[in-house]
């Protein structure tokens, strides 16, 4: 009986490691032809992974539905840019043309996290 519980516990740990750290999400949204809206709600940006083209300004908008102050700012640390998001209102943002690479964006406390994939 005990060994069964132990096995279950270890499997659970393995599951946590895989799900949160090893799993690579495939779903990437493109912000190209139409204006992409990122919904800020329940601790996640949706979509959180966004593909954009290098060398041209990026326009997109954020719609914050979470009233918690955590969700208030979105920061692009590599670009030294931050934007304040009003509740329940779209906030348009413009990023300068970017070099290819991956750019993180997150809230002040890094609980909301997303990534721009520029190529």
């Amino acid at each position: 009986m005990i060994w069964l519980i132990n096995l279950a516990g270890l499997l659970l740990i393995a599951g946590i490691v895989w799900w949160f750290w090893l799993y690579k999400t495939a779903g990437v949204a493109a912000a190209q032809d139409k204006l992409l809206t990122v919904i800020v709600e329940n601790g996640v940006y949706q979509p959180a992974r966004i593909k954009v083209s290098a060398g041209q300004a990026v326009r997109m908008e954020f719609l914050r539905k979470d009233a918690s102050p955590c969700a208030e700012t979105v920061i692009f640390p590599a670009l030294n840019l931050s934007f304040e998001l009003p509740v329940n209102k779209t906030a348009p943002i413009t990023l300068p043309p970017l070099e290819p690479g991956k750019y993180e964006f997150h809230c002040q406390m890094k609980m909301y996290r997303g990534e721009l994939q520029v190529n």
Partner: protein, 760 residues
Amino acid sequence: MTTANSRTGPGVTQELLIEGAGCASCVRKIETALKNVDGVEEAQMNFPLRTVAVTGSAFTADLVKAVENAGYRATPAAGSETDLLEEKEQADQRYYRRLLRDTWIALALGIPLMLFGMAGGDMSIHSEAARWGWLLVGLLTLAVMLLSGRHFFVGGWQSVRNHTANMDTLIALGTGTAWLYSMVIVLLPDLVPEMARHVYFEATAMIIGLVNLGLALEVRARGRASAAIKRLIGLQPKTARVLRDGQELDIPIERVRRQDQLRVRPGERIPVDGTVVEGQSSVDESMLTGEPLPVAKQAGDAVSAGTLNKTGSLIFTATRVGRDTALARIIEMVKRAQNSKPPIGRLADVIAAYFVPAVMIIAVLSALAWINFGPSPALAYAVVSATTVLIIACPCALGLATPMSVMVGIGKAAEAGVLIRSGEALQTASRITTMVLDKTGTITEGAPKVTDLLPAEGLDEVELLRLAASLELGSEHPLAQAIVESAQSRGLNLSNPVSFTALAGRGVSSVIDGREIVLGNEKLMREQSIDLQDWVARAQLIAADAKTPMYLAVDRKFAGLIAVADPIKIDSAAAIERLRGLGIRVVMLTGDNRATAEAVARQVGIEEFIAEVQPESKAEKVAALQREGELVGMSGDGINDAPALALADVGFAIGTGTDVAIESAGITLMRGSLHGLADAITISKATLRNIKQNLFGAFIYNAAGIPIAAGILYPLFGLLLSPVIAGAAMAFSSVTVVANANCLRLLKIDSSTTAEESRA
């Protein structure tokens, strides 16, 4: 925020300000151009106000382009910062009330249950009646979870689905585990050994209540932390009085355009940046520059939005409006800096990214340890320890530690007239070991003035100055200008010089009112064989004080001595003393000769100076200090020392007035006083100390709390933390971080007292 690329939904109206529409026929052209844009349902222009209201779902940028193609200029009427702030505060207030409601609902169930347990009530299931009773409680707890704890569960689930985890995940898992275990005992008691049939509904309800309460307190404290930016935004008046077509109109501030003429009465705030065309007044600029004394304004002087007009009525022309005013740029810069992170926060960020899943793993390990090695009832202990670990871990405290302090510190600095560009500049400023000061314009005023008037017998000061100034009317030398300005400020009537001659490197001569006047150095006087008696010694004394003495002769007879100098700012010495008090090596750079440099250095108490430095080699001197291993701060006016400012570890641009666009500097001082340097360093040191306290507190809290929650003290002391205590600890740890950051607001900066002294 309406910026160039915002889009609205169908039926939503946005407003554009139109420039260049001079006649009524423009109205149709503009309206038609706008109606042809995709998504526009209606476009209606208000000609007197030069605004157009556009209804429909269209990109603002496309609307602006359409107007421009029609031959006019359009700018979106931005929702003002004030409106945005009000909107944000209302949203925060609603959120706060919701959290409080959630708190009371959860505590209304949790507190009675907890008291029942503490009073010796039986929290275990031993009879059929108890089962039914606890089933009812379990369902009530479920209701609390759905009502008050809904956001934890939805948020937790959403983030897990997206392969991330946050505080919601931990709270949802912790309270969910406690509730599920308790429900299993109620519904299927036979699955669990008799001793382990304890229910934990009170923990679930209490934790949900306490964490909500913690969040509510945090919202409150956060509001206080942004007090500085609120104060800046509050400086912006909502309306302006515009003179149009001979009428005075009160219009919303967003509608003021460049070149508008505006009137401000005494006691009113200046609405936009501009240049005075009429009137005289004194203006309190302390809110922007930290400079306590009001500044006199008359025609030709610049005024800044947000400053307070004190004594007279002014009419001025708007030069910068909307987002371009100095105030708006200061607000923008402070906001951006408040959201940037100093390098010290990076470790916490890295930890935060791995923190929550790691806590989940520790919770599982802890449960396994209890099941394998724990005393009976092992299962109950396992559930309690896992729940407590999940609840006590506080990623928020870790995540909040740096940003909250940075926000308060940078806001505090802005209140003192110090603009810090980024978190990185803040951190470097706190560690500076050497401060390089440019002499001209930094230690000194940067504009030469007449300092001494020593007339020879038979002449008075006024006549001496009048003659010298009349002579210098024809000259363009900076020292000459100082003499002329000094005479004009005394209201002297100057005579025009006849046959003006400049004698290169020696002086000038001319005929004034029929008399031959010569002004120049000792060499010139000797050439003209003018007897200087014992005045040479006095001139040498003056020269030793970093002043430039000039001899005046009338009809070949010595008539007096005039000294001109770039005066040292009144509080430079005190500010330099403060810098040294902070343990900073102070070095002065100047292009002047050694003697002048030495005199200035002596007067302000600087021991180390480098004289005769060409402007372009200032950066080299900074680099040389850096090679010595010093962390160098460089301060200058940001114009000819931009390369040195950029090269230094932190550049301090000493602004004159409210010119904040000094890109080469990490820190901009809005008033000329060097006290700003000491203020900036004092504030950054205090902020860094605060960040360290917060980070240390958050690390220690988690590093000690999690093992205790797992039961590490149990084998020694028989101590196992209750999940309710863990919930309270976790809720208040993040409140503590925010509260500690708020303590920074109480920091005393002692330049205000020295400013008082210098006024006296």
